[in-house]
Symmetry: C2
Subunit: 331 residues, 2 copies
């Protein structure tokens, strides 16, 4: 099998060093990948360490960086020599490059991917899909989790199609698709949900109806479809509530626990926090553009990048690229 | 001081017996209240127990019950002899009746309150306001948490006004009002949020800007304003996530704990569950109608009704009625 060529945008995030170290770790861990790192060459070389050689890492020099505070469209247009634009250009131009990872500005990754890679057939705007840690140890894919604050029903139907293909590539058989709403019965929800419902019913997907936010982690669906506003509210309230509950329970245990119980309590918390790590599965995937794009959190650490590479390999093995090729025709 | 006259709709919920028992407990606990129970007289008398007399409980016979599956508008129009319609009629007609409690159908309570009591000035549709248990031991008022799936900016501004007066009556000084969004900066959010932002800025309320779902429990605001769809997603995802995290932690502690640690772990969980009880504050309040209406959960137990009565007494003492009287003019 040919090497999987993955492009990594190393800048525009909190710690480029972590991203570069993560790339080095991934290159060691996965002999089947070839990595192309974009960003200021000298700085990347310094972090990789000149003494060590990484035969499967290539550096593509790009002097500019796109910051979080910049207007995404303008930044992508003007900063042609930025690490992000360079990464997207390589992904587009090198046919065997299969995916890109960036921990940079979400807006810029979105705009750049649409402008440089183009959208799949039937997609107006791509969605961000996150994998939530379900109670059964599996995951639930939430799309859109924040890219599109205002959506139309056709967009939600497109999110459903792409998210379904995404989780199928990760191993879910005939993924169960649910529509985020305020009640499970057909007819419950806002105007957007009511208009999206029949589209999903006729979509040919395994649509199981509305799903409430309280069952998001139950594992009763594989995909939750939502506009990016409500999806983001759902995602962030889960993160915030999980943190709040853990804090309250830690305080209560401290109050009630006899001396010397700290050890096993710490171990239990560590276990749970691992199952609740909303970044453990790597990163959010941009659904609806012609090649695979992963958007890692701005605070990505080396391990995040390793997870991203693992996630891309899984998606490739599961046939996500084939889906994109079918859907990748120009509109 | 005159007695506080409170009307209680005893039917249309999971357990009318619990509601009736709760009314009896509240009458005993709060000598300053007079309760009017609506519903089938014989059944209420049976539950209260004929041998015991409750001088401050009056029963208003109403044979019909409105179910959750009925169309709210039709049910309120047709079932004039239902426990809910009877309760609302008494609340409207008896000038000294200050509030109503119902654990019946949310839709019917909403419709009935609008049709029978009328809306306050400047209110198109009332909102449901819930009190969330904040990390600092206080609470955060979320409005709307589910009554209006689709909203316009003016409606959100009205929710903010009423919710602010509500929490002020409960003791919050100059309540801090936040607008639920996907980022804290002005300009973040969907079209509704962007149009509501300037209205809140000019509202004369203590508007502190957008608030993200992840900080909902942080206590940094006293009021979170939202459309009823996103608000419901927020509320239910908090409930679901809290449950999920507690379950995961219980399992992890069981795995790691040495024999005999069950006692203090159970005590710690009980403490936390108490702080996370989303019904501990009584019930949701219907904001925007001319008199105080509390909507308790359909699964209300006796203690819920006692909490509701306590909540109404606090609101009365804090001047919520005065606010309603000022706002209570016909549109």
């Amino acid at each position: 099998m040919d090497k999987r060529k993955i492009v990594i945008d190393c800048f525009g995030c909190d710690s480029p060093e972590e991203v570069i170290r993560g790339a080095a770790l991934a290159a060691e861990k996965y002999p089947g990948v070839e990595l192309i790192l974009t960003g200021e060459k000298k700085s990347i070389e310094d972090t990789l360490g000149r003494e060590k050689s990484f035969p499967r890492i290539r550096i593509a020099d790009a002097a500019e960086v796109i910051g979080n505070e910049e207007s995404p469209v303008n930044a992508v247009r003007r900063k042609k020599d930025s690490s992000l634009v360079a990464a997207l250009r390589i992904l587009k131009e090198e046919e065997d490059a299969c995916a890109m990872i960036s921990a940079g500005s979400t807006g810029a990754v979105l705009c750049g991917a649409v402008m440089l890679l183009g959208r799949c057939e039937g997609v107006e705007r791509p969605a961000l899909a996150s994998l939530l840690p379900a109670d059964n140890g599996g995951f639930v894919c939430l799309a859109d989790c924040g890219a599109n604050a205002d959506c139309r029903p056709e967009q939600l139907a497109a999110f459903a199609r792409h998210a379904s293909a995404y989780v199928e590539s990760l191993g879910a058989k005939t993924p169960r698709v649910g529509l985020l709403s305020v009640g499970t019965e057909e007819g419950k929800g806002n105007a957007l949900v009511k208009e999206t419902f029949p589209l999903l019913k006729e979509s040919g997907l395994h649509f199981i109806g509305n799903v409430e936010a309280k069952s998001a982690l139950s594992g009763e669906v594989d995909v939750i479809v939502s506009d990016g506003f409500s999806g983001n509210v759902l995602l962030k309230s889960m993160e915030g509530t999980a943190k709040s509950v853990l804090k309250r329970l830690a305080a209560a245990l401290k109050k009630h626990a006899p001396e010397g119980s700290g050890g096993f309590i710490g171990a239990a918390f560590a276990d749970v926090m691992k199952t609740l790590d909303f970044n453990a599965q790597g990163a959010a995937v941009l659904l609806g553009v012609k090649k695979t794009v992963l958007k890692a959190h701005g605070s990505a650490v080396a391990e995040t990048i390793v997870s991203c590479v693992r996630q891309i390999l899984a998606m490739q093995a599961g046939g996500f690229d084939k889906f994109l090729t079918q859907r990748g025709k120009d509109e």
